[in-house]
């Protein structure tokens, strides 16, 4: 009796999971569908054309925007992951006096809304440092919440890490760097990759932080924001569709690697 009930609970939760994915991806598929439509404002009934993709190839603005978004994402994710890895290992491994304060600082950005980070960095850069909008401030500003998310992800994965292995390596004379590269990193790289990916995704398409820090430099979301006045350009739909195709392809490769057990991404069992 309890067995069947337990199974039906699992099935109900699985159905909810599927429903959530359907809802999350419905707008994504709408964007992809619309990118192939002849008229993006009235995409129904379907009339297929590739004109959005032709427009995209002819325009240089979107190439620049994509490149800037990629630089912003990678730069911010690198900064976030490096800072968060140091922070998480430090907090977990050493009973230092300032541990509580470090934990608080690393988590603090989670409690400040993007809009607030955006306007306060704008006010600070423009009025205190006298800086115009530039890509580097945007990278730094996006790395603020990025560091927190990366820290949270790494911390939650490293809680169960056994530091005795590192201590053993140190006893046998390995320096801290060699110990990290040869003992710690091979075990924890999947969670560092996860942290990097999440902070990349958050920075790549961030609107509210980037908007206030970039000035006139185009990125994907700022181009979308700018083109709203005249209605979104069909090129944006085409570009988003291409980005999603690449993401789906990466996921398909990951699935195959996991399926064939070539890469386990930290899963044991």
């Amino acid at each position: 009796m309890t067995g069947t009930r337990a199974r039906s609970t699992v099935i109900a939760m699985g159905a909810l999971l599927v429903a959530l994915y359907v809802v999350l991806y419905a707008p994504i598929f709408y964007v992809i569908y619309t990118s192939f439509a002849a008229d993006i404002v009235w995409p129904f009934p379907p009339s297929f054309s590739l004109s959005s993709y032709d427009d995209l190839l002819e325009s240089s603005l979107y190439g620049d925007a994509l490149r800037n978004s990629l630089i912003l994402g990678v730069g911010s994710a690198l900064l976030s992951t490096v800072l968060a890895t140091g922070g998480a290992i430090g907090v977990l491994r050493y009973r230092a006096r300032w541990r509580g304060l470090a934990l608080l600082l690393f988590l603090a950005p989670l409690f400040v809304a993007d809009l607030l980070i955006g306007i306060s960095t704008l006010a600070f850069n423009a009025r205190v440092l006298d800086l115009p909008g530039n890509l580097y401030s945007a990278i730094a500003a996006n790395a603020i919440p990025g560091t927190s998310f990366a820290f949270l992800i790494i911390l939650s994965q490293l809680v169960r890490y056994d530091w005795a292995m590192d201590d053993a390596a140190m006893v046998f004379g390995a320096g801290p760097l060699r110990c990290f590269l040869e003992i710690t990193l091979p075990t924890i790289w999947p969670c560092l990759l996860g942290a990097f990916l999440i902070s990349f995704i958050l920075a790549f398409n961030n609107l509210e932080i980037s908007f206030y820090n970039l000035g006139a430099i185009p990125t994907l979301p700022s181009v979308a924001w700018g083109s709203l006045r005249f209605g979104l350009g069909p090129e944006l739909f085409a570009l988003a569709a291409i980005v999603n195709f690449i993401v789906f392809a990466i996921f398909a490769v990951m699935y195959l690697l996991m399926r064939c057990r070539i890469v386990r991404f930290g899963y044991r069992g």
């Binding site: 991806y25 009973r95 939650s156």
Partner: protein
């Protein structure tokens, strides 16, 4: 478990290593986050005139902010919206995170990354797509029309639609936070409870829920804080009845250029967030959290 102390009596070495590891990140947060926040606290006591900030100290911005009924309405509206959205996210996210963590097997990471992948498409495009799906001429209403039913107007340009949009945008954060807590949860405890005669529901209420409350609380905060400040979603989906505090705040730094008043609104928003965090913080009992690895001592 912790670093062995150097035999040379360098008792400060763990502290030194800790500073090397956590120092750069902590310093980065101080410079990049706390200093800008401090600067808007200062600006909130200044004055703006024709797009320029003047350093004559006054409380006028706060008087405007607290005295004007419109701002109070915007704030209460944002507060109610954030509370409702967090609650809906909580109810939907728990079973989803649970089923991924417990039954996801070796594809768990893929399931979680699939939650994050929609972020590759910008907020504006996704919100526009929601308009396309739910709007008056959208897919849902067209489908209803085919079956001869009345279009559902509440789906677009109402506070309800804005709430739906916010749930859509922020539920991945809640699922991920609960998931990250559940992957560190020892599910064998549930077997112990079962052997001792606890029904599944009782085991959930007395074991699973309290032991994962920190992750859940982080998820709640991760949804509540951005919803309290959200501007874009209400602007696109909410219609005239959904003007939010965030929209009004963004306007001070955009169209109207009243940075001093905007700074005061930012400070107010920050303090409101802080109150919420402190309330949530009070509910966390570290001894009942099972999270002693990172926070103990």
């Amino acid at each position: 478990m912790f670093a062995p102390r150097g035999r040379t009596g360098l008792a400060h070495r763990p502290h030194f290593r800790f500073a090397c590891l956590a120092g750069p990140g902590a310093a980065f947060i101080v410079v990049a986050l706390l200093l800008p926040l401090l600067s808007i606290v200062v600006f909130s006591f200044w004055r703006t005139e024709s797009y320029e900030l003047y350093a004559d100290w006054n409380l006028g911005n706060y008087r405007d902010l607290l005295g004007e009924p419109a701002y109070r309405t915007f704030f209460l509206r944002s507060l109610a919206m954030a509370a409702a959205v967090s609650l809906v996210c909580l109810v939907v996210a728990w079973p989803v995170a649970y089923v991924i963590a417990r039954h996801g097997g070796r594809y768990r990471l893929l399931f979680v990354l699939l939650l994050a992948a929609p972020f590759f498409t910008g907020v504006i495009l996704r919100v526009t797509a929601l308009q396309g799906l739910l709007g008056p001429i959208g897919l849902v209403n067209m489908a209803l029309g085919i079956f001869g039913m009345e279009p559902v107007g509440v789906l677009m340009y109402t506070p309800f639609a804005a709430g739906l949009g916010l749930v859509y945008l922020f539920i991945p954060f809640m699922v991920t936070a609960i998931y990250l807590s559940l992957v560190n949860f020892n599910f064998e405890l549930l077997e112990v409870a079962k052997i001792n005669g606890a029904r599944p529901w009782r085991a959930f209420v007395e074991i699973t829920w309290p032991l994962n409350w920190i992750g859940t609380a982080i998820g709640l905060v991760l949804v509540f804080i951005p919803c309290l400040a959200s501007a874009v979603t209400q602007r696109f989906l909410g219609g005239p009845q959904a003007t939010s505090f965030g929209m009004s705040l963004a306007q001070q730094f955009g169209e109207t250029g009243t940075w001093a008043l905007g700074s005061a609104m930012g400070v107010f928003l920050f303090l409101a967030s802080l109150v919420v965090i402190l309330v949530v913080r009070r509910t966390i009992d570290l001894k009942r959290s099972g999270f002693t690895g990172a926070l103990g001592a």
